[in-house]
């Protein structure tokens, strides 16, 4: 991160520790560096006394805003494509852009990420073509990106399973001796509030803890596990569960891209220096449905959605950029135009995706095939050929 932005101190205000402010307002305690009104807080204290701050240049602020807008627009396009029958399903990230962009941008090139099926924003930050997940949800491929090349694993549909993969991977990183310095590797595992009730996630906590794995557990608490509200997942704030497993936990305002960045960067750096795992609870809200297959109006009330609307991650960044005169109106117009163009481009490419041949489903099961699969492929080909109008 570039230093030496003389304007930064002037346009920030030093705030009291977040915990006191929050307690007074009746809000949950969380690390926040940018209020919903777009006010910058210079630094905030975590529950263990860690001081979080960011020191971005104007260009970096603009970059984060651009990320947020692009990620939201592409997501909206994917939702529309599903409604038009072009995708089988879509899991929208609407409302969670800041948690994803903040944590995604905090990753260093050597860090490895294990996503759920909603991490389109992190995927974008890792430099992967945003069309990749659309192939998966269109049912024409399995995802298509190379996890090793981009250091971003495949989407995992099974709830919480990726935390086990991440733990094993992180233990491997430590065994390879790749931790301990500034160039050390760290691993991040994404999951949601619902996944915290899974055995897999709790087992991951145990293993990561006792093996001191260089792993950051990044929980986007979007308040609902499909239709089940948070109070059906936990009686204590989720970040406090970490204490019972023996590693630190912190809750961050997941709609604040700056705080999400600061907290993730700190946790990753701890991990890469060999100081073991930690848990981040990014407190956020899923503004849309769990996926396009459910109707959120059936399980939550409109006033709750409205309350979160006022905490929108993009609106606060926009307010901040405007108030501090970091940008002018033309910048916003230019970003919107870029988002529009990219979404149109995305749509065109999705519609042009070829349907795969049914027999290709046997192709990527084993690296070198297997006699059993080969036999199945042969039988299935014969079956397909028995139809009128088949290619052969």
């Amino acid at each position: 991160m570039a230093k030496g932005d003389p304007g930064a101190a002037a346009r920030s205000r030093r705030a009291a520790p977040r915990s006191k402010r929050a307690a007074a307002a009746g809000e949950p305690e969380l690390v926040q560096l940018l209020t919903p009104e777009g006010e910058r807080i210079e630094s905030a204290l975590g529950p263990d006394g860690t001081e979080y701050r960011v020191d971005f240049t104007d260009e970096e602020y603009r970059g984060l805003y651009r990320d947020l807008v692009l990620v939201r627009k592409l997501d909206a396009e994917a939702t529309a494509l599903q409604r038009q029958g072009e995708l089988g399903l879509w899991a929208s990230l609407l409302g969670q852009e800041a948690a994803q962009v903040g944590s995604g941008r905090a990753l260093r090139p050597q860090d490895m990420a294990f996503p759920t099926y909603r991490e389109h924003g992190v995927l974008y930050c890792r430099g992967i073509d945003p069309i990749m997940p659309l192939g998966l949800f269109r049912g024409v491929d399995q995802g298509g990106w190379d996890p090793n090349e981009f250091k971003f694993n495949m989407y995992t549909i099974v709830i919480g399973a990726q935390t086990l993969h991440a733990t094993g991977y992180a233990m491997g990183v430590a065994m390879d001796g790749k931790t301990g310095g500034d160039d050390g590797e760290a691993v991040i595992a994404y999951f949601g509030d619902g996944a915290t009730s899974q055995g897999d996630v709790n087992e991951s906590f145990v293993w990561a803890s006792v093996f001191n794995a260089p792993l950051v557990f990044f929980c986007q608490n979007n308040q609902y596990a499909i239709s089940e509200p948070l109070e059906r997942q936990t009686r204590v704030p989720l970040y406090r569960r970490a204490g019972g497993f023996g590693f630190p936990g912190v809750r961050v305002d997941g709609n604040d891209v700056l705080a999400s960045y600061a907290v993730t960067r700190h946790a990753l750096d701890n991990a890469r220096h060999g100081q073991g795992p930690s848990l981040i609870e990014a407190y956020t809200y899923r503004m849309g449905a769990h996926t396009t297959s459910d109707d959120p109006t059936r399980y939550r009330i409109a006033s709750e959605v409205e309350a979160w609307q006022a905490k929108d991650p993009i609106a606060r960044m926009k307010a901040f950029l405007t108030k501090q005169q970091i940008v002018d109106e033309s910048f916003f117009a230019e970003v919107d135009e870029q988002a529009r163009a990219e979404s149109v481009h995305l749509r065109e490419r999705v519609l042009a995706m070829p349907d795969p041949e049914p027999v290709t489903m046997f192709d990527h099961v084993y690296p070198n095939g297997s006699p059993e699969l080969d036999e199945q492929r042969t039988q299935f080909s014969k079956y397909l050929e028995s139809f009128e109008g088949s290619a052969h």
Partner: protein, 481 residues
């Protein structure tokens, strides 16, 4: 392709086969943008807005609001280049979808075209064999036609051509089945069937299974259940589906059970068979209350407001709930959830059937706000525009059966609620008033409650309070508030 594009109803969930057109948001002739919402469609999973797939001008709309449309059927035609002048072909082809797009909907196979046991083939019980799950509808499994003209031949080919063990059709005799088709050992039934049996009060051990390996099927349970005395009809009567019933040659009419009727049936059976209902009655002289209503109507600030006896009943219920909060609760298995807020349901008979929208947090409303909310609720319901959110989360319900001219009834609780009040007709009746028999305006209240939560004492006190308010609202207000 031509500049006129037809948009087919997509599968909006995962594996849905149809959707109902709730509302068109555009009309023929409208110029629309890409991704502009064009129609609201409700499926078994959700009500969603569909955005336009192309920009252009709406050329035709193929289905009216309220129609149930199969996935894959064209619903709208859009002229994607309306500036290019009139369309060469006469538009008389519309509003029928083009033949090409209809042909794209695949054709169901003749029976025997697909061999039993294979995916898409016929499985026992008339269901369609699938890889996982309970499979799609059994009626129209859509497959491409097979090569080879004679169906029987086609059926024979793959089974013999493959040297690998052919998939075994599950009609083979099962070792665990004894002579009378009953399974030895534990009763075989899938969990949903067990749940159904439990809900319907059917003992699985007493049944003979007709499914594979002698397992008990959904149909077996339903057959057994229909032998038991049927539950009383729900009191909340709906308007007849249509006056012009069309009878066939056998002088019977068969109406498909779907939509609101289906939901009502499910809710009523579930409620009737899970919550032990108790119903109590109270007849009240409401002459004073009716006079109070008249006085209210005369006040200037109430002149524009619709004031009905139901409003007073709602107020009575809300005040009585404050005195007996347990009435406003839900049985949640191992705990009772008592609610501070009252989402007051009002059962409404609409053209689509019985719906029960509710007024959110009605306990906090002033009488005037309550009157406005009730008027809005009824108008929305009559217009068929009640949203799922309006209908969910109800905590206590009033059903105004008096509008149908009957005295009272034994209403069935909406699922999740613990009390429902039936408000009967207000009639002039001989009544002992101040020691003499006089003509008075009298009504009968019927309160059904969930006896798991509400004892007779509490239910009676609650009903008594509602009655006291209706007998003398002024005194009750002074005494309680």
């Amino acid at each position: 392709m031509s500049r006129i594009k037809e948009f087919n109803l997509p599968d909006l969930g995962e594996g849905l086969t149809e959707g109902e057109i709730l509302a068109w948001l555009v009309k023929v002739g409208d110029v629309i943008e890409l991704n502009q919402p064009i129609v609201e469609v409700e499926t078994a999973k959700a009500a969603v807005e569909i955005p336009a797939k192309w920009a252009g001008q709406v050329q035709a709309i193929f289905h009216p609001e309220g129609a149930t449309v199969e996935v894959g059927t064209p619903i709208i035609a859009i002229d994607t280049d309306p500036g290019a002048g009139p369309i060469e072909q006469a538009t008389d082809a519309l509003p029928a979808p083009s033949a090409a797009s209809l042909a794209a909907v695949e054709i169901a196979p003749e029976e025997g075209m697909v061999e039993p046991g294979l995916i898409g083939g016929v499985a026992p019980g008339g269901r369609t064999a699938v890889l996982v799950g309970y499979g799609p509808r059994t009626t129209a499994a859509k497959r491409r036609p097979r090569k080879g003209v004679v169906p029987t031949q086609a059926a024979a080919v793959p089974a013999q051509a493959t040297p690998a063990p052919a998939p075994v059709a599950p009609v083979s005799p099962a070792p665990a089945v004894n002579g009378d088709g009953r399974a030895d050992g534990p009763v075989l039934a899938k969990p949903p069937v067990r749940k159904l049996a439990k809900d319907l009060g059917v003992d699985l051990a007493g049944l003979t299974g007709s499914g594979p390996l002698g397992s008990i099927t959904r149909e077996d349970v339903q057959r057994a259940a229909s032998g038991t005395p049927a539950a009383a009809e729900p009191l909340t009567v709906t308007a007849p589906a249509t006056a012009a019933a069309s009878f066939g040659a056998d002088r019977e009419q068969r109406i498909p059970v779907k939509g609101v009727r289906k939901l009502t049936a499910e809710n009523m059976s579930r409620s009737a068979f899970t919550a032990p209902h108790v119903t109590e009655f109270l007849t009240v002289d409401v002459t004073r209350a009716m006079k109070a209503l008249d006085r209210l109507r005369e006040r200037r600030e109430w002149r524009e407001v619709r004031v009905s006896p139901l409003l007073l009943v709602a107020k009575a219920v809300l005040l009585a709930v404050k005195r007996h909060p347990m009435v406003n609760s839900t049985w949640a298995g191992d705990e009772i959830v008592v609610k501070e807020y009252v989402n007051l349901g009002i059962a409404a008979a609409t053209e689509r059937g019985l719906i029960v929208p509710n007024i959110k947090d009605a306990g906090r409303l002033s009488l005037r706000e309550l009157a406005d909310a009730m008027t809005a609720l009824v108008q929305t319901a009559k217009a068929g525009k009640t949203s799922p959110a309006d209908m969910s989360g109800g905590t206590l319900t009033i059903t105004n059966v008096g509008v149908f001219g009957v005295d009272t009834g034994t209403p069935i609780l909406p699922p999740g609620e613990s009390a429902i009040l039936a408000f009967g007709a207000v009639r002039e009746m001989p009544w002992v008033h101040k020691g003499k028999v006089k003509p008075r305006l009298v009504t009968t209240l019927g309160l059904s409650f969930d006896h798991r939560i509400i004892d007779g004492e509490l239910g009676s006190k609650f009903l008594r309070d509602v009655g006291d308010f209706l007998a003398d609202p002024e005194a009750a207000l002074l005494a309680w508030t």
